[in-house]
Symmetry: C2
Subunit: 312 residues, 2 copies
Amino acid sequence: MSVIIAIDIGGTQLRVATFSGDSIIPVNVRRTSTRSKEGNVFERLTAALDSIWPAEPVDAICAAIPGPIDPARGVILSAPNIPGWVNLPFADLLAKKYRVPVFLENDANLAAVGEWRYGAGRGHNDLLYLTISTGIGGGIICGGRLLTGAHGLAAELGHLIVLPGGPVCSCGQRGHLEAIASGTAIARYVSEQIAAGRTSSLASDPRITARDVAAAARRGDQLAIEAFANAGKYLGQGVVDFLHIFNPSILIFGGGVSQSGDLLFGPMKQAIEGLVMDKQYLEDLAITTAQLGDDAGLLGALAQARIKLGTG
Amino acid sequence: MSVIIAIDIGGTQLRVATFSGDSIIPVNVRRTSTRSKEGNVFERLTAALDSIWPAEPVDAICAAIPGPIDPARGVILSAPNIPGWVNLPFADLLAKKYRVPVFLENDANLAAVGEWRYGAGRGHNDLLYLTISTGIGGGIICGGRLLTGAHGLAAELGHLIVLPGGPVCSCGQRGHLEAIASGTAIARYVSEQIAAGRTSSLASDPRITARDVAAAARRGDQLAIEAFANAGKYLGQGVVDFLHIFNPSILIFGGGVSQSGDLLFGPMKQAIEGLVMDKQYLEDLAITTAQLGDDAGLLGALAQARIKLGTG
């Protein structure tokens, strides 16, 4: 009976879980906070692993990492939310301690793998996953395999240039999809318009979030509706680029902002219809929201371990 | 000894060639014109095949097609330069006549495969190929496999949106890479600027080509230099998107306009340096021109047949 340990390291919480056979229900699961004053993150991670380590032999560990990694060397290049995790030889450290194979992959890529194997993307071989929350991340399955690139840096779909010279992105460059269509960008759009003198029911909020903007839009606030329409338009433009590049059979949208429904996806679909160069790209194309929610990273790590072991 | 027949159907000429063993030098080759009044293209193709058909058993036929295809069904969806080739069941027609497996793929994809196996891309597993001539085509090798998408329509890299609302593309949409950085677009840029009153040594030419613009630029013509700089800037922007999406280890540029050298690639490299979000994408990244020239399609068809048969 195959035993896998999956790890999902998020910005605020860290989860470890043991899975057995071909089940996706954990035998055991433990969560701890990523940020804490008690010891460092790596110590809290190994303490959590120790606490759930099973009696049976473990076949592999696979971890979802919130930042760029080098999958070949098993190194975390950086993890923006975890100070000190720079060029961390994560796989080696865990492999030395637990003496099992250790795989790692960035969280958006593993969320794509999770949705592909256990979620909204089952049965598809060419899948595009976008997670829209404070930022925009992506993962691609093409021809039944995860796209990683030569050094594990592929599928940075949030950094597609959709408006040359446009708003500044979290990465420092301009006009990226993330800088226009993420939750942060939607909230910023409203704040900037209010600062420029536009009226809105949100004008009195000192710190506007995309969730506030969605609520205001549902109440009929014109600026809030416009903010989602603008984000959706550029999201649609980016999606059209991805259709022409990957010709997927399914688009899956995860992340909190994807809960905004037609506020975002109405304008997105309109942009897609208007900009796609051939209707064939839309034939048999499924467009759907993610099914695994916060479990996408953990189940993606599980799926990836089974793929790497040749059992999934 | 494996015997493969490769077919390359170009806009003006059509070539068929027999290859034996693991050689890339044809045993026999025949060319005919694609456009002619003597019979239709398919009849000229089969006549050429008949004339070189070997005494030994043929293992497979593979054809490079100048237009979108459905690789699963072996159907040519359309071939812009060949009237009447719409939804043509090409693989079935040839398989019925010759009783051998028939594969087909679009010519830019097969040029990528050819460069990967026998040309500038040998040894790479993540390769991006762009051909810049009257249009811009692309092919992607990711993780050691050709990217085709769910219905064979992937890698339309020339149709990346680099300037929303920009110049009209051959496909009818606006602001695509092809509409700004192809040979046609470079020549059009000069013509439009001259029509708007700019001076240039090309002002007296009734019909300007990208080759004329390159020659004028080398003589110091400022408008011609500017035309290549503008194309190179947007080409660089598109390449940066492709780096963030695919993280390739090599970029290969084919097509006539790629012969323009630093006129195009100087501004392109400057744009890449300025727009890439992390220098890691440029580490160990080879940027080179194609090695196979006009043979890329034919040798790509050969390579693809060997891959499909598991012998290459």
